[in-house]
């Protein structure tokens, strides 16, 4: 039985996240940071707006805002306007609601996001100890499935946190949706959602699920999944890392605290449980 000694040879490879930070954080380009004060001239910023492939950046002459729900992390803005945009590591990027993905937050955004979060927390109060997750692919590029599936490998091992994948939507508390919202998945996705018992939480995984990403909105793609099912938590990234997805699940069901406007400003990727 060569597998039994093999099974223990490597010792514990499982991450301690979220109780302790994970050493992988600094290696992963997690998100684009926007400086609170403009660090570049209007020309450089206009260039960055033009260069963005998904129109994620807006600049009205005074303020720059970046929609992480559109950002595919191509980092062109980081090159063109380095005083304003910065490529940051870290994976704790999940956000409560679509507006919370726009940084820096506009007036009143914080309050609204906090309210959405509180509403969600009330709804999921009974789920804190263990949650069952159902995944549905609504037109992804296939990479998000790898990252969701990675959650069951020994490094992430989500069962240690009471997170289980389930085959039946009738057992599911959390719906993980990936993809740009393909036309063909509109009905199957809705049917899956309807079968889930209350309370239920929807987590949109990846920038495609938030906005359609590079694919956008067209005859066969709905520009994200928020039009198809009510999304509670968005995990940006193209694709997000398994840690990012895990952060989204834990934040959604209240196992983990998350600041209203992303817990990701900390470049070391430290958690704030």
């Amino acid at each position: 039985m060569p597998w039994i000694p093999r099974g223990v040879r490597d010792g514990i490879v499982t991450s301690r996240y979220p109780r302790q930070p994970d050493g992988f954080g600094p290696f992963f380009f997690g998100h684009v940071h926007v400086a609170p004060a403009l660090g570049d001239g209007p020309e450089a910023l206009a260039d960055a707006v033009r260069a963005c492939p998904t129109e994620a950046i807006t600049f009205d002459g005074d303020a720059v805002r970046l929609d992480r729900g559109r950002c595919v992390l191509c980092a062109r803005c980081v090159v063109l306007a380095p005083g304003t945009f910065r490529a940051d590591p870290g994976f704790e990027t999940a956000a409560f609601g679509r507006r919370a993905l726009v940084v820096p937050p506009g007036e009143g955004d914080d309050a609204q996001v906090a309210e959405a979060r509180a509403r969600l927390a009330r709804r999921v109060r009974g789920l804190r100890r263990s949650v069952h997750v159902r995944h549905v692919d609504a037109g992804s590029d296939g990479s998000e499935e790898w990252e969701v599936a990675a959650l069951t490998n020994p490094v992430y091992d989500v069962q240690r946190l009471g997170v289980f994948f389930t085959a039946s939507p009738k057992h599911a508390d959390v719906l993980l949706v990936t993809g740009a919202g393909s036309a063909g998945m509109e009905r199957p996705l809705r049917e899956t959602y309807d079968l889930m018992p209350e309370p239920k939480v929807v987590v949109a995984v990846g920038v495609d699920a938030a906005s359609g990403g590079m694919v956008g909105e067209r005859y066969a793609a709905r520009g994200g999944v928020a039009q198809l099912v009510p999304v509670d938590v968005f995990v940006p990234g193209s694709p997000p890392s398994p840690f990012g997805i895990l952060h989204g699940i834990l934040a959604a069901v209240g196992i983990l605290g998350s600041r209203p406007h992303d817990g990701a400003e900390d470049p070391a990727g430290r958690s704030r449980t």
């Binding site: 037109g139 499935e145 599936a149 490998n153 039946s168 393909s182 590079m214 694919v215 793609a221 890392s241």
Partner: protein, 510 residues
């Protein structure tokens, strides 16, 4: 959905139906002749022309070169005589062109909708009327059964299946345990990517190409960039080509480990699953350390690379040596575990004949004694500079043979990474990692050997703006042969056959 196919037809292949109903003189005479003479069919593409016309392009591979034959389709005509009888591999291409462009393959044995079942009365999304502004919805009507007889029933499985999978629907027709007939419906994932390319710059196009088939992002970016570079007559710096090889080969290792993870999962080998999925995670993390993305995104751009390796060549070598040693050791242990190997042996046999009829590419083809490896048959980029041997072809054609081919390819991939890193260390930094790409016009074909097999990109551009881009993934090409691997198997084998084909639905349905 139309009812088609002769009652009781078994086998599930494209060419198993009625005699050709060809109307006019056969189109593509040269393609038919070349394939008869042993050339490998690579694909059939449609390019829109002004005023509702279209240009059909057939591509075959013969003697280490791609040969293209063009057939114009007049605006009022919009049909041609189907190739699918003579060349079963073309069957899926013809169905795709029918769905998206509304061009009818006259005499196609099974002209079912494939990538986007257009509802009655609606027009084809890439047809002469242009891309529809409004959202369209595909026709989800269940398929009518093909197989009839006492006790025969049909099981639709998908698109939402148990486990974390891409959305796809299989229709299994069975009388109990065996699977005489299987059909695949991939349209659930159709996103309309092809039309999205139109009007983009080449720089934006490569970002979209990376997202056609996310698990083969590097290969898609490579094939796309190769086509653009061909149009612009750009010489890519050698060091950039070598960096591309490093990323492309690590992508291959990750994909091949992924099929192994899925095999161990299907076989219920808990420790092996943990061990192999840990190896895959290590590879993904190494890729992230090299470029920030676990999928190698943002590296390959037209003209070269967008960023150099974040580790020095010596560090790359130091990282892959223990990685390869551990993978080797555990794979050997896995292949010495009878309860695992027995599940693969004799499972999902794709005969050499079927592999040839469907011109199957990649590891699946190489396990059935077929298919070229374009890294050696049409060397591109850095591969022309590196020593690479195609893995030994196997002929058993079962899931085990496919697994063994992939194990050999993992070793080959590490060998290439080592050579590329060595050479990068010797050459030092280039003056520039990226050559300037002029605004390109015209049409070109690019290719790459993705982990799934030969990948083709047809790019048409005008004044630096993309007019049309088709990313033909190996997954699309091979899926047509998928049903041919089923007739001898039973339900519990489905997971193994699916995993051993290693296909990405996103790439097939895009």
């Amino acid at each position: 959905m139309r009812a088609e196919g002769p009652a009781g037809a078994a086998g599930g292949s494209e060419a198993a139906a009625s005699p050709p109903g060809a109307t006019d003189a056969a189109t593509f005479p040269a393609t038919r002749r070349r394939v008869r003479d042993g050339a490998r069919f690579c694909g059939l593409f449609a390019l829109a022309r002004p005023a509702g016309g279209a240009q059909l392009l057939s591509v075959v591979s013969a003697d280490g070169a791609l040969v293209v034959e063009e057939v114009p389709v007049a605006a009022g005509e919009r049909r041609y005589s189907s190739l699918a009888h003579e060349i079963p591999a073309s069957g899926w291409y013809e169905r795709r062109i029918r769905d998206l462009f509304g061009i009818e393959p006259v005499g196609h044995p099974r002209p079912d909708p494939l990538v986007f079942p257009v509802p009655p009365g609606a027009y084809a999304p890439l047809g002469p009327a242009g891309e529809p502004e409004a959202a369209m919805s595909p026709d989800l009507t269940p398929l009518a059964p093909h197989v009839h007889g006492e006790g025969v029933f049909a099981i639709p499985y998908g698109p939402v299946r148990s486990g974390v999978f891409e959305a796809v629907e299989y229709l299994l027709e069975t009388s109990g345990e065996d699977i005489p007939h299987l059909r695949t419906r991939i349209f659930y994932k159709h996103r309309g990517v092809e039309s999205r390319f139109a009007g983009m710059s080449a720089d934006d196009g490569v970002l979209l190409a990376e997202r056609v088939e996310g698990v083969a992002s590097v290969a898609h970016a490579l094939a796309f960039s190769a086509a653009v570079e061909r149009l612009g007559e750009v010489a890519v710096p050698l060091q950039a080509e070598l960096v591309r090889v490093v990323h492309a080969e690590l992508e291959r290792v990750a994909n091949h480990l992924d099929t192994m993870v899925r095999h161990t999962e299907a076989a219920g080998q808990a420790v092996a699953y943990a061990v192999i999925s840990h190896h895959k995670e290590r590879v993904q993390r190494l890729r992230a350390r090299l470029c920030g993305s676990r999928f190698g995104r943002g590296v390959v751009v037209p003209g070269g690379i967008g960023q150099s390796l974040r580790l020095r060549p010596a560090e790359v070598l130091a990282a892959i040596a223990p990685l390869q040693r551990r993978i080797d050791e555990d794979v050997r242990r896995l292949m010495g575990t009878p309860s695992f190997v027995d599940r693969l042996r004799g499972t999902g046999v794709l005969s050499r004949d079927d592999a040839r009829r469907f011109a199957v590419v990649g590891p699946v083809g190489r396990a059935s004694g077929e298919a070229e490896d374009v890294r050696t048959s049409r060397p591109y980029g850095g591969y022309a500079w590196l020593g690479h041997r195609v893995v030994e072809h196997r002929t058993d054609g079962d899931a085990l043979a496919r697994q063994l081919v992939r194990i050999d390819e993992i070793a080959g991939a590490f060998h290439l990474v080592r050579q590329a890193a060595d050479m990068l260390g010797e050459l030092g930094e280039p003056a520039s990692w990226r050559a300037t790409v002029p605004p390109v016009s015209g049409r070109a074909i690019g290719w790459a050997e993705a982990p799934q097999g030969e990948l083709l990109t047809v790019v048409e551009a005008d004044g630096g703006q993309l007019a049309q881009v088709t990313q033909r993934s190996a997954s699309f090409h091979n899926l047509a042969a998928y049903p041919a691997a089923f007739p001898k198997d039973i339900f519990t084998d489905v997971a193994f056959i699916e995993a051993s084909f290693g296909l990405s639905i996103a790439g097939a349905a895009c």
